[in-house]
Symmetry: C2
Subunit: 478 residues, 2 copies
């Protein structure tokens, strides 16, 4: 075993030992450490991207962009640490006139939750992996992180871990603020470790639900932030299909096949008007898209199995289907709204890869109720025309009610890392719909509120003191 | 069955039918409805307090205060609705220069989660019951509420429900925004209803964990906000015991026996210096406290059983114990730190009622490690002297690490309803340590974030529009 890889017990114990020092670290120190990791990753860009491409076949253009995003995320969270708003400091001054009796002095903030376990994803070897968004947001909250490496890119995971360890040590962060473990059993053992306080996961529904169960069945249950997958339904109105069918078909095929369809925001489910030329155009364009290498053989096999399962659903017809049954090339299936509505859960099951299921409808008014019956989704999208208005209100409510992000006239692949991003959604898209795994709000997953009542200034955490040495925002209720 | 009591399926279905209208209601309308309920409860104060006293034996002084608090909570949450900060509106303007690629327009807020089930508590017939804090905060978030009445005060629950229904109807709130159900099986059936989106509970660890399991085992799991109990450890330093032993003994006995000890913040566990006069004084004072009627026979029986269980722990001695074994009068047990540390989980199990367990220690430096080994608590308290400083830093960290609220030189009974209050804590004090069930932050339990990407103004929810018709705070990232 590589020296950068730890046994799970040792990794969590080291994280627990580092927890208080890291949680109490001044914002400047914590931000500096995150920036040091970002700098170090970018300094080794050429080596890391080459290694990632060897292991994932995602191509150097995409991987260079992903590394840029990963470094950006670390710096954006460093900014959050310095801004200190996530601490949500609230100070109630004593108030003898408070309507329910004298109000004591109360000072509340959100502090670090403790050691966090991150299960790395296969499809984002940088941005949802060892130094990815979960790790960056947990560190920013003040939590040490143990990463369970994804077996799809083991060499990259170890090399990234080495770079992190060196950068963290040089920045003065405590030992144990980062650890790498490998293997399914190691992940389970770490998840069961009594000192662990939360876990974050990006991957399959099956794997995620099994781990969520382990987290819930611990003697002390812990939050499990699982991002499990989604078919990201897209609705095209008749007006939009009529006005710009060719453009929509092109956009859809591009989004469906981007990165061999290996995005959690891949638009696997399309509601399109029946009898329109839109579907014919999609079929024509999709047949021209060549087969692209997938992340690994196990992904390609699961893709083919999933495609066959969907093709067997009652009422389903194949529109694009390879002669070679085992090919990972794009596929397209279709069925009508009534057939889909007979078992929306089965028909909306994710098939990870470039597979599209087109549901044709006769009347747009019937689509909202079917959307409302869908399992929870990461995203939903609506393609309409500027003149369409009130008649889309119910559809808007249905789409927003079943997903964490709704898009108008855009495609769901591509998740910008911003303040207002929501990358989450109702179960089973995620196991924690009130949270996001992308964007600055992701830090909220790793915080725990605590209130100090009439506590002496000299023993208060710095953000709660009157002299406010960290200079964080304090909301004071006089 | 009384006409105000619904079957669980009907109650949740009615809540689901009302959910969208209530979630989309303008802040002024929603606030007016909460205020109408507060007004109506206060208008019937004499009748309600008399009814509550008949059913709970808590006394009219306490119950009048609790009704005042309940009305205040409703008005405080009405203020939150009008202020709109809980919506956490974030707007990212499009930014073509965004470091990871062009940033789309994103508008994120937190909307209502959907129908909420509230399990009422026995010991707060107003403030944690039908129109209590859970109900008020869920309504404020925009969620319809179904309350499962506590069998300890059925007449009061029904009368309160009638008052709510009339006030809500007069305020123009949709039918289904409130419903009352009765009985254990009805609570379970409602918890399993597919349209339910969250549940809140205040009660025993055993009952709460059973319900939490049901919530987790649903086809679509939902959050279960359980406040399960706590022994609220108090540490007295040798310096404090020496300087003001008599005052501390008096304060402790008062807090321990307030309301017959029937508070979730009751200080059941006291760490006191060995060989000090403090414990002797506590014994003397506690023997003078008469037995007070408990909420019901089932509570008194559980109290006596729990006291006997604790008295059987190895190393335990009885200091105050009634001649009548079945009496609900105050009791005091003691054991030393080593005996306590042998099984902190068993010794820290809650015995609901006026029972104190005094753990005597020789050296204060040994207490922090034992505190760190405790199960999660709602509160912890430290009584020290002004000159004590750095040597209490480890103890402060241990106390704050195991509870949602830490108190300095005060007693934990009495939970003020404020902005900075935290009434929560690590498992098993609660099943959701990142949340609070008291104070304005309680609203956060019932919200769900959703982001709108490039969505037309005319179809956006009002708080996300540029014209901001609700006048809510919008954080705009240019």
């Amino acid at each position: 075993m590589n020296t950068v890889v730890l046994e799970p017990d040792r990794a969590v114990a080291a994280a627990a030992a580092a927890a208080r020092e890291w949680a109490e670290a001044a914002p400047s120190a914590r931000a500096r450490a995150l920036e040091a990791v970002a700098d170090a990753l970018q300094a080794e860009r050429t080596e890391l991207v080459a290694l990632a491409d060897t292991e994932t076949h995602l191509g150097t253009t995409r991987l260079n962009g992903e590394l840029t995003r990963t470094a950006f995320q670390l710096r954006l969270f460093a900014e959050q640490v310095l801004a200190g708003e996530f601490l949500d400091v609230r100070i109630d001054r004593p108030d003898p006139q408070w309507p329910t009796g004298p109000r004591p002095e109360l000072r509340r903030y959100r502090t670090a939750l403790g050691p966090v376990l991150v299960f790395a994803a296969s499809n984002f070897p940088f941005a949802f992996s060892v130094a990815g968004g979960d790790t960056a947001s947990a560190w920013a909250a003040g939590c040490p992180v143990v990463v369970k490496a994804h077996p799809g890119h083991p060499g990259l995971s170890r090399r990234t871990a080495e770079i992190i360890q060196k950068a963290m040590a040089q920045a003065g962060a405590p030992d144990g603020v980062f650890g790498l473990i490998e293997g399914q059993q190691a992940g389970i053992d770490a998840l069961r470790h009594p000192a662990l306080r939360a876990a974050a996961f990006t991957g399959s529904e099956r794997g995620g639900l099994a781990l969520a169960r382990i987290a819930a069945d611990r003697p002390e249950p812990i939050p499990f932030y699982g991002e499990l997958g989604s078919v990201n339904p897209v609705v095209v109105t008749p007006a939009a299909a009529g006005a710009r069918g060719a453009e929509l078909a092109e956009g859809y095929v591009g989004s469906l096949t981007l990165g061999a369809g290996q995005f959690c925001t891949n638009p696997g489910l399309l509601f399109a008007p029946a009898g329109d030329g839109l579907v014919d155009t999609i079929v024509r364009l999709l047949r021209e898209v060549p087969s692209a290498p997938m992340l690994g053989d196990w992904i390609a096999e699961a893709y083919v199995d999933g495609a066959r399962r969907l093709a067997r659903l009652p009422g389903t017809r194949t529109l694009v289907w390879p002669d070679d049954e085992a090919s990972a090339s794009p596929r397209l299936l279709t069925l009508d709204l009534a057939a889909f509505a007979a078992d929306p859960k089965a028909a909306a099951e994710e098939c990870f890869g470039p597979l599209g299921l087109v549901v044709t409808y006769e009347r747009l008014e019937e689509v909202a109720a079917v959307v409302a019956s869908l399992p929870g989704q990461l995203t939903t999208s609506l393609h309409g025309e500027p003149h369409e208005g009130g008649d889309l209100a119910d559809l808007t409510a249905a789409l927003a009610g079943r997903s964490g992000r709704v898009l108008w006239n855009e495609w769901p692949t591509g998740v910008s890392v911003t303040h207002a991003m929501q990358h989450g959604g109702p179960f089973p898209a995620t196991t924690a719909p009130a949270t996001t795994s992308v964007g600055t709000a992701a830090i909220e997953r790793f915080l725990l509120p605590v209130a100090y009542q009439s506590w002496p200034q000299r023993l208060l955490p710095p953000p709660l003191r009157d002299d406010n040495p960290w200079g964080v925002p304090q909301r004071i209720n006089e």
